[in-house]
Amino acid sequence: MLIEGLIAVAFVAALVVFVSPNEYAGRLAAALSLLPIVGSLYMWSQFDATGNALLGGSIAFETDFVWLTLGGLDVHWFVGLDGISMPLVVLTTILTTLAIVSAWTPIDTRQSQFYGLMLFMEANLLGVFTALDFFVWFVFWEAVLVPMYFLVGIWGGPRRKYAAIKFFVYTNIASLAMFIGFIALVFGLGDSVSSMRLPEIAMALRGGELGGFAGLDAGALKLAAFVAMFIGFGVKVPIVPLHTWLPDAHVEAPTPASVMLAGVLLKMGTYALLRFNFTMMPDVAQALVVPIALIAVISVIYGAVLALAQQDLKRIVAYSSVSSMGYVILGLIAYTTYGVGGATFQMVAHGLISGLMFMAVGVIYNTTHTRMVGDMSGIADRMPVTSGIFVAGAFGYMGLPLMAGFAGEFFIFQGAFASTVHAAMPLFTAAAMFGIVIVAGYLLLAMQRTLFGPFRFDGEYEVTEAAFHDVAPLAVLLLLVIVLGVAPDLFFQMIQQAVNPILQTGGGL
């Protein structure tokens, strides 16, 4: 019942914060959000699962009982962790607390609602990463949208209403497409599955139990479902060309929301792609290797090129997230230990680093009230510590060795280059790798123009070093990034154990 406890604690904390007075809400939320961290770290210490939860591997902290029956198929309350979800749970809990702390300065209205929503979102995110039954997972998956909608809509920037509704409807359509695809697939399995539990479905699919359904033969159904789900999840990732909600949402969202959005919400998409498409239908994935790899490469390069053209620091980081997520897709399609494992690792690494970058931008924004590259220069002169961490974070984003980003990217590159799913994979990899040059280009340019050079700021605000509680989360994140970069095995071992079963060719493959 540990997982239920974890989620419940977050929910309760959310309720408590909702009714707490505004002036204490922030501190209270931060304090309460420490409980999930303790919980997840304890789970990590007790973690003993091996193999992939969907493919017959042992599942840690498992709970499983029937929730309801839908036309012959049981829906179970079925949660548990394996090497893929464990790191993401840890990431979620830690990032939430840091995001909450980073909100102390910028959020000055309706605090109790804000922090309540943050905790509510955490609870649902934990649900997404722990649920192993489709409907349970889907409930949390959709529920995440609600708090995000408010976070962007209420505390966002000038165009927040547009951004919020765009994010809301766009991702909702995506979920619906995915839902139809997946359900059709499940019914295609006929009597070989008795419930909505993902392991059962995954095994059946890989076991080639799929039959025809609704006028489609097995192959066509599988393909259609794969595409529908790929698009559905692709919006969340986001992949080009389904990415346009992201920059708007990021730019308008308040910093802590951006942190959660880039740090965890995007990972929901890649996580789902890994869990569903790439685990359940490896054969289709490998049949579609060229289009998928192309999408990955295009996402990487196109996102980076767009970032090059931006003037808004947040937009830069937003587009570079698109770019980084492209790497993840590339790693997933590689179907090698380092490819898929690296992709999973990169989810965590990018979660930390993008969080770091958004927070750093936010800290600068708190003092200058602008994010436009042109509006300031030489900030480092007045905000040395922040700038220093900003530089470190930027280099982490560029994939500087011994920082988490490099580990993730290198794993992916290595796995993708050595991949045997298609003869052209080395070329795709090399093409995608050029992203590391472009990313250096726009981040260095942005830093040169904002942080360095003679100090100039055309705003009436006094630019001074940020408060301790603004910088502390940055430092913590930076530390984590370095630790993970020096010792990726902290997560990479369990990730490999969970990933390798996917690669072993099942009956369906």
Binding site: V240, P401, M433, V437, L445
Partner: protein, 670 residues
């Protein structure tokens, strides 16, 4: 037994600790953490020397010390390890020595000049040294790449040290970006090596050069992605070479280096002599066993080297700032090293790497001393007559210049001469392409001599041409000390490997040959020679070193003489106009920067803006279009509800009728 090798990690870690110390408590330490750095680097130096002697005792060390990523189920395992063989041992000594001297010198250059942000400065130096040392001792390509990148980071931090001015940050960005471009190819190369051999180790029976060798003999099969093995190895080698070209500032990625002069002069000394730029060449030497398998890549290396040597030397001829001259001389000298490596002169190149480290560090520190004296005015045309004011600087600088110009018996002569000699013999020995490279290298000797002595004369001779030059600012022991040490080394370092003399006298005095001749199986110069013979088809033609040596010496003297003739008067005048049209071209560095900046600004920027327009207009336009269309249609749909109940009745009837008719026709009711 706790051998010296157990302390090798300390060589790397000590400077790293000093980095942490300076970063954390630098403000509270005297001299902003300088002493921490000095102590650390000096400690590393002593340990390196100890290691050096242990290695000379015949011991070597090749040990994995840390598993970075442990691959399960047969996946590759990525590790860090130490590889101590004669090459790395020698490099350790060089790097630590120069790092120590630079630290000491910085006391004079930075502290005494009342710079701010010293903790940041010394932290940078510490990390820089640590990264370079980590690179030197790396036992596999991945680890090498990682520290290679960290070196790049440190160069960024130190070149951009004076971030409050507009210049340095831009230069730092350029340095990192250009080298990053090279490193992209390097990284692809690393990945390719892993994908091909499943390992990236430098040494041992499971090392990738060895496996490649076996693959060529057909003793071991590797995944060459459908290429013929030698072709694939060439491709991989050239990919890795991309990183080398970037870091060692070879054509066409050399443009960052002159700008890097924006950094503090001691940093320039460190970058040029011992760390960043040396890293590239060192990497080639480190995996020479791999390059030796591919004549194509060897000759490409040689050509790049030769061309860069000449190309940079010509640009050095017209520069006004003393540091600019040195910058181009660096590029040119590293060109020689590449030439040597490409020309089959592994020892020669290593030799030149060593000597150059000494005299280039010396020259930069000397220049630094001059700059202190000139109150940070670097323009040689406002100097002059300094030799009486600052004799120590003058004589040490002179020693460095003689070495740079390649005048016997100074260090530079022996090494450069051997580089050219090796290239020549192999060129004549059946690889004619090398002769082209040789020719360029030889021609560069003349220019080197010229710009070197132009620099010396303009700076120290003649009459002072400015107020500051008449009354220069004095310098302290912490400046002079390092100069003296390096001055002596610059004069004598060459004596360890006097090939021509050995040839004449038949004495066994080619210590470097012996030094690099032993060590780990497969990494010895002997093995490399065999490889060159058997794989690359390099054969040494039978000609003695004397004649070529005299030729290059003559050219060097000619160049120096011309410089003396032109600039050795009290009031030297600019003769650059004599160059005519060439002058502008040279001043503008053959428009290298221009076209690269053009690429960046006039090509990439508009392209990205276009992409942005496309994204906003088309991709996002579609999204917004869908929503507006559905809202519009919604607006139309609601108009049906006219509010007049009779219309409702009509529509209702029509709807029902339509249904009835439709089904009637469908079901054939009528």
């Amino acid at each position: 037994m706790a051998g010296i090798f157990d302390f090798v990690p300390a060589i790397v870690l000590l400077p790293f600790v000093s980095f942490l110390v300076a970063l954390a408590v630098g403000n509270r330490l005297p001299k902003g953490g300088a002493f921490a750095g000095i102590v650390a680097t000096a400690g590393s130096f002593l340990l390196s020397v100890a290691t050096f002697f242990t290695v000379s005792g015949g011991q070597t060390y090749n040990q994995t010390i840390y598993t970075w990523a442990n691959g399960l189920d047969g996946a590759v395992t990525l590790t860090f390890g130490l590889l101590i063989d004669p090459l790395s041992a020698m490099m350790l000594v060089i790097v630590t020595l120069i790092a120590t001297l630079v630290h000491v010198f910085s006391l004079g250059y930075m502290n005494d000049e009342g710079e701010t942000g010293l903790p940041r400065y010394y932290a940078g130096l510490g990390l820089f040294t640590a990264s370079m040392l980590g690179f030197v001792v790396a036992d596999n390509l991945l680890m090498a790449f990682m520290f290679f990148e960290l070196v790049g980071l440190c160069s960024y931090l130190l070149i951009g040290f004076w971030f409050r001015e507009p210049g340095p940050p831009s230069a730092a960005k350029k340095a990192f970006l250009v080298t990053r471009f090279g490193d992209y190819f390097f990284l692809v190369g690393v990945v390719a090596v892993f994908a091909t051999f499943g390992t990236a180790a430098f040494a041992g029976s499971e090392s990738f050069p060895h496996l490649a060798e076996q693959a060529l003999h057909g003793e071991h099969s590797v995944n060459t992605f459908g290429f013929e093995p030698r072709t694939w190895f060439t491709i991989v080698g050239l990919l890795v070479l991309g990183g080398v070209v970037g870091k060692s500032a070879q054509f066409p990625l050399h443009t960052w280096l002159p700008d890097a002069m924006e950094g503090p002069t001691p940093v320039s000394a460190l970058i040029h002599a011992a760390t960043m730029v040396a890293a590239g060449v060192y990497l080639v030497a480190r995996m020479y066993g791999f390059y030796a398998l591919s004549p194509t890549s060897l000759s490409i290396i040689a050509l790049i080297g030769g061309f860069t040597a000449l190309f940079a030397a010509t640009m050095g001829v017209v520069k006004r700032e003393i540091k600019q001259v040195l910058a181009y001389s660096t590029i040119s000298q590293y060109g020689y090293m590449m030439l040597g490596l490409g020309g089959g002169g592994y020892i020669a190149a290593t030799f030149h790497l060593m000597t150059h480290a000494f005299f280039k560090a010396l020259l930069f520190l000397g220049a630094g001393s001059v700059i202190i004296a000139m109150h940070h005015n670097e323009n040689m045309w406002e100097m002059g007559g300094l030799k009486d004011k600052m004799p120590v600087t003058y004589y040490t600088f002179l020693s460095g210049s003689l070495a740079l110009a390649g005048i016997v018996p100074f260090a530079g002569f022996w090494s450069k001469d051997e580089v050219l000699y090796e290239t020549l013999v192999h060129g004549l020995g059946g690889s004619p392409i090398l002769l082209v490279a040789y020719a360029m290298g030889l021609l560069a000797v003349f220019f080197t001599g010229f710009y070197t002595f132009r620099m010396v004369l303009l700076t120290f001779h003649g009459e002072p041409r400015s107020q500051t030059a008449r009354d220069p600012h004095g310098v302290h022991w912490n400046v002079k000390g390092p100069l003296v040490v390096l001055g002596i080394l610059a004069a004598t370092a060459g004596l360890v490997n006097m090939t021509p003399v050995a040839e004449l006298t038949g004495l066994e005095i080619e210590f470097l040959h012996q030094w690099l001749g032993h060590g780990i199986e497969g990494l010895t110069s002997h093995h490399y020679v065999e490889l060159l013979e058997s794989q690359a088809g390099y054969h040494a033609a039978e000609i003695g070193p004397i004649v070529p040596g005299l030729v290059s010496l003559a050219l060097a003297l000619a160049g120096a003489g011309l410089a003396y003739f032109l600039y050795n008067d009290a009031e030297p005048t600019e003769h650059t106009d004599k160059l005519g049209g060439a002058k502008t071209v040279l001043y503008n560095n053959y428009y290298q920067d221009e076209y690269q900046v053009w690429l960046a600004n006039s090509l990439v920027q508009p392209f990205s803006r276009g992409a942005d327009k496309f994204d906003q207009g088309v991709v996002d336009g579609v999204v917004n279009g869908v929503s507006s269309v559905s809202l519009l249609s919604g607006n139309r749909v609601r108009r049906i509800q006219s509010g007049v109940v009779s219309n409702y009745a009509v529509l209702l009837t029509l709807g029902l009728t339509a249904l009835i008719l439709g089904f009637g026709l469908l079901g054939g009711w009528f």
